[in-house]
């Protein structure tokens, strides 16, 4: 059962080949068997999963089932789940039991999905390797010596190892796409505002966006259809109807104009990764797409601008963790200042502290114009690059990550080197565009991802473009040998 996609499981449930309870038990068994080698889950919610599965089966008997009813999934531990620990990968929230559900969780519950557990992640979603988690690193199912990418590393590894057919993730600078690429799965970061951020613990509010991670574009279409939509509780949520993503999947690609940004194929891109990406591009030509070289001249400014905007917003968002109302509190504070500083000092890990400090500095008196304002201006230049490109092409393609998964520990001591692993994904967040990563090959044992970038609200088109490729390729069907 674990080899089936969500679409196949949905069909199996619909015709009664198996019940949601059987399906849920099968995945819980796999988690029990394999999680210790991967560390993909922080919390496993076996008991409530079975309750949800039985409720889904009951709902089906009443004739009220939808396509996702009874399908097991996992949630990144950044989404608040009522009554279940929501740690955000941090000691700060190690004992935080969320008192409500995030809108994404609420919507997927309403669709009838079953939550298997909460997946591991970089602390507060700050990282590209899943090594900053308080709960320890996640391992890549394709090679246990390699990182799964981050920050949604637990979700990516769990899907790749078939411990869950799908999972939620969040993407502030590449945190859905980069781990999807490094683990050989499909993941989509929607347009900013498409998926509600309510109950999704905030890192950088003008960049954060939730989205689905699964094996195929079709599965992502099913999940995104349930997750997306207007939410009055998120002040940046966009009030715009959600298209039927499944209905668009089979559209032919004849005449599709694909932009290949020369900046994404230059220095820094691993040769073997480039070859796999070029092979996929050749396949798209076969499918009827036309390739156009384009330029995104301000691409090199994306990382510098991001490392002002994201830390600045993080320093402000994480100010709420003060040891008073919830979260970690230090022992025997001698006064209020000591309570704040020590609770935060003990509760946050090194990478989170680094970003809080950078952000605090950038926003401090006298520096605002030189840093935050300047970064916001650069952001405008980057988004104008994309606007010009989309006047010319329908979609942009390139590598998701400059290399395949690196080794655990390889970049852990050097923040700058780590930051550069998101070189192709970050500009998309600054512009607020939708973007998808899909598997297109391997270098040795380690997967390569192709990144598609679309115009605002073109999620349907991105899913369609990825789906058509998956009809003529089998990279997304491969399973890591140790988890077959």
């Amino acid at each position: 059962m674990h080899e089936k996609t969500i679409a196949q499981l949905s069909a199996g449930l619909a015709v009664g080949h198996f019940s949601s309870e059987e399906l849920t038990c099968a995945f819980l068994d796999r988690i029990a068997r394999f999680n210790s080698s991967l560390n993909a889950f922080i919390t496993i919610t076996a008991e409530s999963a079975l309750t949800q599965a039985r409720a889904a089966d009951e709902r089906r008997r009443r004739g009220e089932a939808g396509p996702l009813t009874g399908v097991p999934i996992a949630h990144k531990d950044i989404f608040c789940t009522d009554g279940v620990r929501t740690s955000c990968g941090s000691r700060m929230l190690d004992r935080f039991i969320a008192p409500y559900n995030a809108t994404v969780v609420e919507k997927l519950n309403a669709a009838g999905t079953v939550m298997l557990g909460k997946t591991n992640m970089d602390e507060f979603a700050m990282g590209s390797s899943n090594e900053t988690s308080f709960y320890g690193p996640v391992r890549n199912p394709w090679d246990l010596e390699a990182v799964p990418g981050g920050s949604s590393g637990g979700s990516a590894a769990a899907v790749a190892a078939r411990l869950t057919p799908g999972a939620t993730g969040t993407d502030t600078g590449g945190s859905i796409r980069q781990p999807a690429a490094l683990c050989g799965i499909t993941g989509i970061k929607p347009t900013y505002g498409r998926v509600s951020r309510w109950g999704m613990i905030a890192y950088a509010s003008s960049l954060d966006q939730g989205g689905p991670m699964a094996r195929t574009a079709e599965d992502c279409a099913l999940l995104l259809g349930a997750m997306a939509g207007f939410d009055p509780r998120d002040s940046t949520s966009v009030d715009r109807p959600v298209p039927d993503y499944i209905a668009h999947l089979d559209q032919p690609l004849d005449g599709l104009k694909v932009g290949l940004p020369k900046e994404y194929f230059g220095e820094g891109l691993d040769r073997a990764v480039a070859q796999a990406v070029e092979a996929a591009i050749a396949e798209y030509r076969q499918l009827g797409a036309e390739m156009v070289e384009i330029s995104l001249p301000n691409s090199h400014l994306a990382i510098p601008a991001y490392y002002v905007v994201a830390p600045a917003e993080c320093s402000s968002n994480l100010a709420r963790f003060d040891g008073v109302r919830y979260g970690h509190r230090c022992e025997d504070p001698k006064d209020l200042l000591d309570l704040y500083t020590r609770s935060r000092g003990e509760g946050f890990g090194a990478e989170v502290k680094r970003r809080i400090l950078v952000g605090t500095f950038a926003l401090s008196a006298g520096y605002y114009d030189a840093y935050y304002l300047k970064a916001q201006q650069i952001r405008r230049l980057i988004s104008e690059d994309f606007r010009r490109a989309f006047a010319q092409v329908d979609v942009i393609m390139g590598p998701t990550s400059p290399t395949v998964a690196f080794n655990l520990g390889e970049k852990a001591d050097d923040p700058i080197t780590m930051y550069l692993s998101d070189i192709y994904t970050i500009a998309v967040n600054l512009a607020g565009l939708p973007s998808l990563s899909l598997p297109v090959g391997f270098v040795g044992q380690r997967p390569v991802g192709l990144q598609l970038i679309g115009d605002y609200f073109a999620e349907d088109r991105l899913l369609n473009i990825a789906h058509r490729y998956q009809q003529v390729s089998d990279w997304h069907q491969r399973t890591p040998a140790a988890f077959a």
Binding site: P99, T236, H328, P333, D335, Q376, R379, R380, Y419
Partner: protein
């Protein structure tokens, strides 16, 4: 821009973040390296470029001033580190 130990201590205070003395030189080094990375922005003339605060350039909505949430004090205080009689406890602030 390079940051020294005194500057790191000042920023840490502004952020209400205790950092161990032995870690301070590492933070100074890391922060300086990050600011150096960020300084690449200065190579670009952005005179007259309007800052972009929202990816879709829309204004935030406001809602009607109506009560939408019910009081859930007990539920929310169940996860508080220290409470008494419905109040959050902190060390004495006023002598």
């Amino acid at each position: 821009m390079s940051l020294g130990l005194a500057e790191v201590a000042k920023i840490a205070h502004l952020a209400r973040l205790s950092i161990r003395e032995e870690d301070a030189p590492i933070y100074a080094r890391n922060l300086s390296a990050i600011l150096e990375l960020v300084a690449q922005m200065n190579a670009v003339d952005t005179t007259g470029v309007a800052p972009m605060a929202h990816p879709l350039d829309t204004a935030q909505r406001s809602r009607a001033d109506e009560v939408t949430e019910s009081n859930q004090r007990e539920r929310f205080q169940a996860i508080a580190p220290r409470i008494e009689a419905g109040l959050y406890l902190v060390p004495k602030v006023i002598e």
